[in-house]
Amino acid sequence: MTATTDLAAAIVQTMHQPVLVLDRDHAVVTANDAFLAHFQVTAAETMGKPLARLGNGQWDIRELRALLASLTGSEQSVRDYRVEHAFESLGRRSMLINARLLRQDSRSRVLLSIADVTMQEERESELVAQREFSDKLIDSVREALVVMDRDLRVTRVNETFRTAFGVGNAETVGRRIFELGNGQWNIAPLKKALAEVLPKEHSFDDYEVVHTFPGIGRRVMMLNARRLDHMPRILLAIRDETERRKHADSQKLMVGELQHRVKNILANVQAVASGTVRRSASLEAFERVFLQRLQSLARAQDLLTRQADGTASLRELVARELSAHGWEEDGRLALCGPPVVLSRRETQPVAMMLHELATNAVKYGAFARPGGHLTVSWERAADDPAWLEMEWSETGLDGITAPTTKGYGTQMIEGAARQMLSGETAVHFRPQGMLYRVRFPLELEAPGGRS
């Protein structure tokens, strides 16, 4: 009997977990060393004391009383009974208690083994929180993220990755990265970086990989990777640079094109200045003619920049050029013709022609004398609608004759029509006013096609 009790006491003593043996009145018969140490009490304070009185009544816990009350004849043991209690000295603890009712003859004993799971629960909830945190973090990152194990087998991909590369979790998790999407990711430079660089360097940054994927086409990617030290994990972040690169490239092209145009404009301005200065009798005459020519070039440029596609309406070009010389559509000026769109290349020579014709009209023709009348008309050629026929007809004058010398303005008109527009010109000096005809092939088709 005593031997059995001693053996039981010895066993209780050797256990790592706090154990209490209570009698039928729930007074402490035995408390093992683990109990005394864990709850920071002495044997004298504990032995023989009713459980509810231990440590100034700290153990008078409602749930514990309920547990002990439940140990009746029918229910002799309870496992993992969770009790949370704030102890004066130890603070809040979570305990899992196993209880067993032992009956021997008339004596009954209650065996309580108490597992303090406070730390464990804290760690677990911390782990859960950390996992949740890392999950949210991974999904919130704008770059595509791949988490792999040391064998480069994917354990996770984030939303950005799934969207960018059009794959689901099922097609990624558990596979080696090089096997993803039927080997789409079997990219030699990536393989080299992951398999050779990473084991040595722990990380790499801004590693550029250009690859053409069957589904999404050519992509320029910047890769960052980290090998984690305390976890068998590799993080791979992929930034899709494709659009940004495209944008940068087109920007570069646009700047180049702009530079080219600026140089052309400068060359043209210089040529106009040089040609005008040779034909000018005085600085005043040069200034007037040169500035007018420059303004005409500027007006044409202005008209072109108004349209997003860099084209210009012929009617508007004619109206603006004549308006600049003080002529609006009224009894003396008539414009007639269908809508015609000029390309960027055509607009400048047409504007130049109109400018020189208008300048001549102001000096010698329809705008120089009362009674003068001007009709500017145009239509697509009957024999070939790809060609435009334009007519500048001055009337209402008398005694008009051809000039004896060809001025620079006339040379510009002819040069513009023939060389820049690949067209043909004809000029007739009728007594009632000059008639100028030009025809040239249009670069842009009519809105309804050529038929």
């Binding site: 060359a267 043209n268 210089q270 040529a271 040089s274 020579p349 040069g415 513009a416 060389q419």
Partner: protein, 122 residues
């Protein structure tokens, strides 16, 4: 040689894709005495024009989207004196045309005259 009119009575080809520049150069060339000036704005036009006989030519190295080397070769083979015209940024010209007299745009009158004397003067 006429000092004031070094191109007296000559037939000159001007290859230049910018019309206003071509017009200006033609005008200058006429003032230097040329009897006739023909202009070409593209390589195709220039090659066709080079079938005819010219006493000299001004050729822009860079036409719109093409280099004018083929027409330079053709004119050289025909023994036509040549002056190359280059843009603001001529870069480096290949060796086979590097020995030809050249003027940079915009043309300065003295530089132009020197190049003309270089090409036609002896």
């Amino acid at each position: 040689m006429n000092d004031e009119r070094p191109l007296h009575d000559k037939r000159i080809l001007v290859v230049e894709d910018e019309f206003l520049v071509a017009l200006d150069l033609s005008d200058i060339v006429e003032r230097l005495g040329a009897a006739e000036v023909r202009t070409a704005g593209t390589l195709g036009e220039a090659l066709a024009a080079a079938d005819e006989r010219f006493d000299g030519a001004f050729v822009d190295v860079q036409l719109r989207d093409e280099k004018s080397f083929p027409v330079i070769e053709k004119l050289r083979a025909a023994g036509v004196p040549l002056i190359l015209t280059t843009g603001y940024d001529p870069g480096t010209l290949p060796a086979h045309v590097g020995d030809l007299p050249r003027i940079a745009k915009p043309f300065a009158p003295t530089e132009l005259r020197r190049a003309v004397e270089d090409a036609f003067g002896r």
